[in-house]
Structure formats: structure tokens, C-alpha cells
């Protein structure tokens, strides 16, 4: 399995002089995912659950097989896997469900490094239900500062943190947070959006109680995400969205919800997208992740070294490779991130500039104008890093 083989699976990468380094926003998609979705829509398209004709049986089988594929990726049980419309929806689902039993004497602990999608649901529900919200601060290099976890006390019922920062690539110490949360009987919700693009993960072994991720960042289709939850917790979680396909009985005001996972899948689920996500995860599981991780780390090292050689670059986040994934953010002295990203784009290098839906982190790190983010995937190679560094030097020359 060479990087060339990996690249060749992605039709979009065949474009010449095109360097996609915006993977943390949305990853590209292998041809087999595109084909799986198309094939499903031609040969197995029907609504799922209790269909009695041939297409419906195929759709049911494909959808439940997709659930098993996700379960395999997460080393979990299929009935612990809930398909949602995205990572944000998964986080809203678990926040909405858990918030049902929270009130003014309770607290939820998030971190300053959260993406808005793992902050706003808790913030808005806190206003609504009156519970407290506290934030784990970050260190100067954007890591969660776990030196004082005393805020995770008896009032704390939920700790909700990101597994990997979408800005800095820093990997959170989930086992340590799990220990702190479980010591006070709190549940640990982990936002895995930036972790799952870099290989299979075992949220149960990490100590998470709930784990969310997005299809489109994991080489799968848009329009699908996953909420995993321990069976014992899903069993008690009330649904936070309601509709067809999730009730067993409905008699007047009495509603009898189906067991998980269907209780959480109100309405027609994203069937073809779940099938596409399964194809993406199957593709991922075919990679040698020890090798891929080395490759990604190599690119990160190369990038960090290249940035160190440029004038006026200030890193945002860890400057080493330990406990970090291949997401690297930085500022360029005297240049607004949007101007730089724009010029890089003209140069065929796709990166992102801005606040990255992480305004509290930007504020904590004093980044009023946001920063530039380079985020890599297994299909990136030296040429992408070279193009970026070359483009960066030229952008600075143009802008200054």
C-alpha cells in the first residue's frame, strides 16, 4: 500500500497542480464510496424497516450492514450505533437527551478548545434548563489544560470535550478525562470529528460514554454522521427529535419509543449516505494505519520544519509531533489569514483561514483575525507540502 495507491482511489486528486489541504473541513471521497452510493440508489433504494418487497429488504440489509461496518470501525456493538445527519446533529442529540435530566444544581464541563458544534448545544441548553457551564482552559499551545480538574466535581453531570482539536490537531487525554468524569459519576461525551479521519478508534476502551463523528470528514458522503453510545446509557437516553420510525406504540398522549438505536433515528434515515459511509470506513479499514500514521507524521514534521524556515510565521498549537494529528495552524505576521488563504487558493493550494468555528479558542489564544489551517489526509504527499510552502512564501511577497 503506497501513497500512490491511496491517491489513485480518489478521482478528484487526478487534477494536476491541485493540493488539497483542507481535510479537516471536509475530506475527499474515494471512488468506491461514490459508486456504493450510486449502486445503492439503482439497486436497493427503498425506505427501511418493515418493508415487505425485494427493494425494501435490500435497503434494510444494506442499512443494517452499514451499521455493522460502523460498529466494526468503533469496536462497538451495532445497536450502539445511531445514524444521524452529521456530527453536529449527533452532538445535539446527545446534549438534548442528557439535558432532559439536568437542572440548576447541575453542571456541564466543556473546554475552551471546543468546536461550536460541541459548545453551542450545551450553552443553549444551559440557558434553557438553568444548569451551569464550565470550561476547561487551554495551555499556550492550545492543549486542554488538565492541571486542575477540580471543576469536575459532584455537581458535574457531563463532561463534553473534543478528541482532537480542529484547530491545533492536539489530541486530548480522553482516558484521564474519563477517569475524572467517572469519579464523580458524570458522563463523558467525546467529539470525535477530527479523530476518525485518522483511523479506527475504540471509544469504549478510551473511556468515552458517547462519541460523535461526521461522515464527510471520514471520506464518506455529506449528510450523515454517527452517534455512538454505550448500550447501557443509550437505553436511558430520551430522544431529542421525534417522528416516524421511532415509536412502537402511540396511544393518545402515551408514547412508547422503540429500543436504541431506532429510538434516536426519527424519520427516514440517510440510508444511501450510511451505505456510503460504510464503504468509506471499509476503505479505511483496508489501510495499514501504522504506516499511514507514520506518513502523516512525516508530512507534519516536514510542514513544521518548513514553516520554521519562513519569516513571521507563528504556530498555533503544539510545535511537536507528540499527541497531535496532522492539523497545523499558524498566523503570518502582517498578513490576514483570508488574504493568504485566497492567494494560496489561486496557487492551487486549498487551506482554510478564519476562526474555524472555534471562537472561544481564538479568543483565548489572542487570534482576533483567526489563523490559517493546513489539515492533511493519508492521500497527501510531499508535493502538497512543497506547494504550500512555496505558495506561502509567494503570498507573503505579494501581500507585504
Amino acid at each position: 500500500m503506497t501513497i500512490k495507491t491511496i491517491r489513485s482511489a480518489f478521482p478528484v486528486l487526478a487534477r494536476a497542480h491541485f493540493h488539497y489541504l483542507d481535510n479537516a473541513a471536509m475530506a475527499q471521497v474515494p471512488g468506491q464510496v461514490i459508486n456504493a452510493v450510486a449502486a445503492h440508489d439503482v439497486a436497493a433504494r427503498a425506505n427501511v424497516h418493515r418493508g415487505l418487497h425485494d427493494l425494501a429488504r435490500r435497503a434494510d440489509a444494506a442499512y443494517e450492514a452499514a451499521r455493522e461496518s460502523v460498529a466494526g470501525f468503533l469496536s462497538a456493538r451495532p445497536d450502539e450505533v445511531v445514524f444521524t445527519g452529521g456530527c453536529t446533529q449527533a452532538l445535539n442529540l446527545v446534549a438534548g437527551g442528557l439535558a432532559e435530566s439536568l437542572g440548576p444544581r447541575d453542571m456541564v464541563v466543556v473546554s475552551v478548545a471546543e468546536h461550536h458544534s460541541n459548545l453551542l448545544p450545551w450553552l443553549m441548553l444551559a440557558k434553557r434548563r438553568g444548569f451551569q457551564l464550565a470550561s476547561i482552559p487551554v495551555t499556550w499551545d492550545g492543549r486542554l489544560d488538565l492541571s486542575d480538574l477540580s471543576m469536575i466535581d459532584a455537581r458535574c453531570k457531563v463532561v463534553a470535550v473534543t478528541h482532537v482539536s480542529n484547530v491545533t490537531g492536539a489530541v486530548s487525554d480522553i482516558p484521564r478525562l474519563a477517569e475524572a468524569a467517572h469519579a464523580v459519576g458524570a458522563k463523558l461525551v467525546v467529539d470525535g470529528a477530527q479523530r476518525t479521519p485518522h483511523g479506527p478508534v475504540d471509544p469504549r476502551a478510551l473511556g468515552a460514554d458517547f462519541y460523535a463523528f461526521a461522515g464527510h470528514k471520514t471520506y464518506g458522503p455529506t449528510g450523515v454522521g454517527v452517534l455512538w453510545g454505550r448500550a447501557e446509557h443509550l437505553a436511558h437516553l430520551p430522544p431529542a427529535a421525534w417522528g416516524g420510525g421511532m415509536v412502537a406504540g402511540l396511544d393518545g398522549e402515551t408514547v412508547d419509543f422503540l429500543d436504541p438505536p431506532r429510538r434516536f433515528e426519527a424519520g427516514t434515515p440517510p440510508v444511501a449516505q450510511a451505505v456510503g459511509l460504510a464503504a468509506a470506513l471499509d476503505w479505511m479499514r483496508g489501510l495499514d494505519w501504522d504506516k499511514v500514521r507514520l506518513h502523516e507524521a512525516g508530512l507534519t514534521r516536514q510542514l513544521l520544519a518548513g514553516l520554521a524556515g519562513l519569516d513571521g510565521i507563528e504556530l498555533v498549537g503544539p510545535n511537536g509531533l507528540e499527541d497531535r494529528l496532522p492539523v497545523v495552524s499558524f498566523t503570518v505576521k502582517g498578513c490576514h489569514p483570508h488574504d493568504v488563504a485566497h492567494l494560496l487558493g489561486e496557487h492551487g493550494v486549498a487551506v482554510r483561514g478564519g476562526a474555524h468555528c472555534s471562537q472561544p479558542l481564538m479568543k483565548a489564544l489572542g487570534l482576533h483575525e483567526g489563523c490559517l489551517r493546513v489539515s492533511m489526509a493519508p492521500y497527501n504527499d510531499d508535493s502538497d507540502i512543497h506547494a504550500l510552502l512555496r505558495g506561502l512564501a509567494e503570498a507573503v511577497r505579494v501581500l507585504r
Binding site: E346, Q359, H368
Partner: protein, 136 residues
Amino acid sequence: MSHEVYQQAIKDLAGREAGRLVAPTASARLDNPLCGDRIDLDVTVADGTVTGLGQVTRGCLLCKASATVAVEQATGLEVARAVALVEDVRAMLRQGASPPLAGLAAFEAVRPYKSRHECVLLPFKALAKALGSGLP
């Protein structure tokens, strides 16, 4: 690398920040929190005419350059005309209308880059806000 958007004219404009006025008739602060852009704009008005403008802008080159055009070329306009500029700039960017101020010609290159339109518009929104019209 295409420099069309970042032509020298834009960079020159961005480099000329007027600074704040000492005794403005009105002021407005406007943020584009999505990218952290912030403009503080001051205006003096006499007899229904804009007689003076100042600004300090934190933002990208396009926003800073557009702010310079706004303060340098909206002076002398009738208030109603100055308020209407934001719509004219929008029309220039979106519908290909001609630049409502000579200095905006340099911004015609921004047309294809929709996500940058807001950068160019912000100073003109601030101008309209300062002139008391509220935002469109």
C-alpha cells in the same frame, strides 16, 4: 500566482488608514465576527452632506482598502447618496454594475470571489450605519 485581486492599487489603498476623527458628528463600529474584521468609522455631516470621514480597520487587505475608498471618496456626497453606496457596491460585486466610486474600480476583480464580497462591503455598511440608516 494571480495577483489580480491583490494588485498594487489595492495594497496602496490598504496602506492608507485615515485614522479617527477628533469631533465626529456620528460614529459606528461594525464587526464581521466570522473573520474578526472590525471597522470604527467616524463621520462629520453638515447641511445634509458628508463633510469628513475617518476610520480604523482591523481586517483583511480588501476590507482595509475598501475602507480607504469609503473615507476618501464619500466625503462631499449627500447623506442619502452615501447611505445608498452599500447597495451600489453590492450591485457592482454581484450583478456586475459599474463601480459607484472611481476608487472601487480596483475591486471589480473581486467579483468572482463571492466569499470576499463581505470584506469589501463592511466599510460601506459601517458608513450607512454611522449615517443613521441602520443596516440594509
